[in-house]
Amino acid sequence: MATRQSRTQEGETGTDREAERKPDFLGLEPENLKSLLRLMILARRFEEKAAESYQLGKIGGFLHLYIGQEAVAAGAITALREDDFVISAYREHAQALVRGVAARAVMAELYGRADGCSKGMGGSMHLYDRSVNFMGGHGIVGSHLPIAAGVGYAIRYRKQDRVCLCFLGDAAVNIGAFHEALNMAAKWELPVIYIIENNEYGMGTGIDRTAAISDLVDRACAFEGMASEQVDGMDVLKMRAATERAVRLAREEHRPSLLEAITYRYMGHSMADPSHGTYRSREEVERWRGDDPIVSFSDRLIATGLMTGQGYEEMDQAAIEEVEEAAEFAEASPRPDESHIYDLVYSDEYPHGADRRDSWR
């Protein structure tokens, strides 16, 4: 893809760097820039630890890693206000962490423990934290797109100026819910920003083999009023800038957006799937690894003197300690109480329920 090429080259030549420095640092304070890096490193280290725990059988079910895509979550979510909403599919560890869900609560969830952010009921695919408006964690491809429109509807309903950020995978652009959600968001002017994380594959199938469109972002053409932009998803600042533009449109003009972040997942679709194999070559993965969003961004911070190599080491060390502590916390957290198995089915009263539901027990 043309856009990919241009992206991959750019930022590699010193001159580009010079040119970019000012515009690209978006006038952000050094602290903010560092925190962007810190968030990406935390997400990376967190998932490396999670993968390790999965291998050890401490985590079960499906575990979908985000490694390689960190710039998308870090750039996009930090463009939000605290009272905004974030919703995602099942590859959402990094998004939860960036949004402010405690690493220990996420890790405990993966371990299926009572202190997990979803009390051990949801697992990796279903992370929730109402205190930071993190709305999950949805396992049915596309199902959260109309839900995001509903959050946007509620914002307009209450005449608020909040926005809803919704992440989806590239393969989700072929499902009907995508079409129905975007049509409603555009027609009713809902403050929702849909970000396609185009990592080129839906499981083992290249998106170019199932979607009858070259640039997924162009699907916005079917919905008048829907702003759209394709973004370099390996560049945290470009993600941040594009999302800020979309957030402004949503907040000030109730204008929804469809962004396409060009990115890549370095690991397999899930722990069951090898990082490369039948559907993609080792070379392809290596090529993208050469464009690691964390490496390139830290290089720039260092090259521009905003951070020292040692500063980076310390930041990385802190992240490693945080996830280690999270793992210990998860390990120590109790399993959900079996006597409360029925407590979370209904929030309200449920007449003559559990007692006779399984009289055979």
Binding site: C117, G150, E180, K187, P351
Partner: protein, 327 residues
Amino acid sequence: MALATYRDALNQALREEMSRDEDVFLIGEEVAEYDGAYKVSKGLLDEFGEWRVRDAPIAELGFAGLGVGAAMTGLRPIVEFMTWNFALLAMDQIINSAAKLYQMSGGQYNVPIVFRGPGGAALMLASQHSQSPEPWYAYVPGLKVCSPATPYDAKGLLKSAVRDNDPVVFIEGELLYNIKGEVPDEEYLVPIGAADVKRAGDGLTIVSYGKMVHTALDAAEKLAAEDGLEAEVIDLRTVRPLDIATVVTSVRKTNRALVVEEGWPVANIGAQLVDDIQREAFDSLDAPVARVTGLDVPMPYARNLEKIVVPSVETVLRAARQVSYIS
């Protein structure tokens, strides 16, 4: 007490709940400018405006999901399906999202939403438009499923459904909208999960819900007149959860039970009732629990066929006599 149609009773419930709580809104096809395909939402657009009474595109999955998202933020959407036949397109949102979110989120996001619309056969609408969806939803934990038979119950149950903090599947009778019944002037609620004895008797227990309750009552009158047998007719009103206690109490008294429903015969509400009755009243049963259901066929268009597919007073009578060993 004033007489009101089932349609008006529902309209009253919507108006009252929307006036009481500004978080309540209605969304569905034709609900606003057209007053609803069955006029259940008559006048609501003028009274509450477009954000609270919203005409939706034909996108059942989409607007059901939109309702779920709004409910997660604390609003109380009422999602109208023009008929439940079209909700087959929205089942993923009802079952995979609405019914599971509260537990999946560890109790952080409850989903106070009502999915409502007409179900069952009407007149010659053929197979795609004549289905009884209750069993599909009754199977699913996380949902509550109501199917009222009278204007009184329709209004009281819908108000309870709107106030319920969990998803409620509310199935109205497409052929009941015009029936009249007493509806109190003062406010009242009908609790979800409580059956109602619509006719007292000690000769036989007939259990039903929705439209079929009327067929059961008519059959009961005939049974009394022609066979001197007084049937007790129980209206479940809610099919999830099932008020088994009320049913079992009656069967312990009558020793005979007949379940009447409009839907297909397999893995339905009646089968579940048989399971509960035989387990909880085994020794009281003088005969196997009998059942009357719609025939096991997609609904044909031709009126003469439709007539024999849907349970009638005659088929109910025949089954009632069978189970009572009257020939």
